[in-house]
Symmetry: C2
């Protein structure tokens, strides 16, 4: 009988913390979530994390370690998680050692975008690639870069900010202070905001009908409208995908990594998104890399957070 | 008495090949150049390379190896130099092993932009940095990325094509097939072409007078005009530098490497170029990296080619 190894994956978010018991093949045995209590300060958040881990440690499986994916910067040298956005009073917390001291298990902490990339490498669409660029299209646009089978962190752990590659020097103002960042075109919040503003000008768009029927404007709804052959919806998707393709072409020229994996909510735009991104890259990237370009959907989907966090354990154990 | 070690540095260019005998502190003991004969095919070029190396091997110094910086792609796995632009009939040549077999010395071959980065790391402005981005502003815009004290080559040896990062999705058409590549704004040929076209519209620019006096339009001439307080010349320089700053901000966000070294002819734009690039990056890059940004001129200047090529030997010996 084969004995599975298990890891605890903790996906720390601004609203909820997701916990999962995951085996070394990426199967989730058990999962649940708790409120983050981010507005109550770091101690409250850490208590919630401990509570969830405690619960999972009661199971009888052989647990080899704990992986935590977190927003903010993770400084591996110092072992700290710094300035996660929307976490009150959280400047620099040595989260890994706090959890290690509590449970006496191996603990690995990684920025959530990096954890997503490691998750795809260990369990998902990146298994057979030594090098790939992972893009997570969510509220923002996150990125993770895998080089020679390892996550690339940069000088201070902040590498992979693909969402803040500018494709128009005088383009949309971005919250980061720059202009034309790809996040301001395809990040969920910016995109939905933009469509809300423009929609009244597109009176014939089926999106108007869908919204009047009580639907919420989401990437999925836009994709539904596109499937109903709505021209404006198609334009939204192809334009956002084109812009992402432009950004990725630049990154591929600089990094010489021709494989791209795309996950996250906005990737619910589906086939047309992937096709447009791939076509744009193949038209734009330098010639020797054109035949090598691969653009694939992420495999981990909804449980990417938990699986990515648990993958941190299997990646380094 | 201290015994210096020497390397032979070969800087292969489309028109001439520069040869130098360089010690382990980057001092050139002897140098000369030969015609490339690129239009006569690979054998003719290789003969010229051998001729030059042969000449330098006659010297009495202890020569530990030969370094060659070349245009085109260098595929380290296969040991080949592929498709250097403007070299007739040169598809894929195992240049390293040809030279090694001839002279029985260690031979290292690297793309010239990467050799420039390694040169700055070993002998120049990059000595104290573990990570930096090297930009060479010449006919084109070349790039080399140093990560943890090593050159980053990418999946097939083509990494670092910083000149082909697009800063305007619908910008200038680039020879590479994309649009808005930074090279089309600050690469010597594109820039001079652009100024030639625009100059008649700037009748008051001192550049007109300088050209009528028989001067050739070069980055240096534009800088001379700027020093004479010519407004149009200032605009050319600051606009090109701004655009380079935009491109570098994107790269820094993706790579988390806050140190930039700039060399090559167009960097003759001088202080105003460096100041504008640095200012732009500090305004645009994500906040945690702003205080860390360093933009420095390359140190190796005119002999960067020879010194970079010889640095390949000291880098790996």
């Amino acid at each position: 009988m084969k004995t599975d190894k298990y890891a605890i994956g903790v996906d720390l978010g601004g609203t909820s913390i997701k916990f999962g018991l995951v085996n070394n093949e990426g199967k989730i045995k058990k999962k649940f979530s708790l409120d983050t209590h981010a507005e109550e300060g770091p101690d409250a958040v850490i208590n919630q994390i401990k509570k969830g881990i405690d619960e999972l440690l009661k199971s009888k499986q052989k647990i080899v370690g704990i992986g935590i994916g977190t927003p903010g910067s993770v400084i591996q040298k110092k072992g700290t998680v710094e300035n996660p956005p929307n976490f009150k009073g959280w400047e620099s917390i040595p989260l890994g050692s706090i959890i290690k001291n509590e449970f006496n298990k191996k603990v690995f902490v990684e920025n959530d975008a990096n954890a997503a990339a490691i998750g795809e490498m260990i369990f998902g669409a990146g298994r057979k690639y030594e090098n790939f660029i992972m893009v997570t299209l969510g509220t923002g646009v996150g990125g993770g870069i895998i080089i020679d089978g390892k996550i690339y962190r940069g000088e201070s752990g902040a590498a992979g900010e693909i969402g803040h590659l500018s494709i128009e020097e005088y383009g949309n103002q971005c919250k980061c202070g720059s202009r034309g960042c790809i996040e301001t075109y395809i990040g969920n919040n910016y995109l939905i905001e933009h469509v809300k503003k423009e929609l009244p000008l597109h009176k014939n768009s089926k999106l108007n009908v869908l919204i009047q029927d009580g639907e919420t404007l989401t990437p999925k709804l836009i994709h539904d409208a596109y499937l109903l052959k709505d021209y404006y919806a198609e334009m939204i998707i192809t334009d956002a995908a084109f812009k992402l393709g432009v950004a990725l072409s630049s990154i591929i020229n600089v990094l010489d990594i021709p494989t791209v994996i795309i996950g996250g909510g906005v990737s619910g735009f589906g086939k047309i998104l992937f096709e447009t991104v791939e076509k744009t890259i193949k038209e734009r990237v330098m010639k020797p890399n054109r035949p090598k370009i691969v653009v694939k959907p992420a495999k981990l989907k909804n449980e990417a957070g938990i699986k990515g966090a648990s993958a941190l354990v299997f990646y380094r154990s």
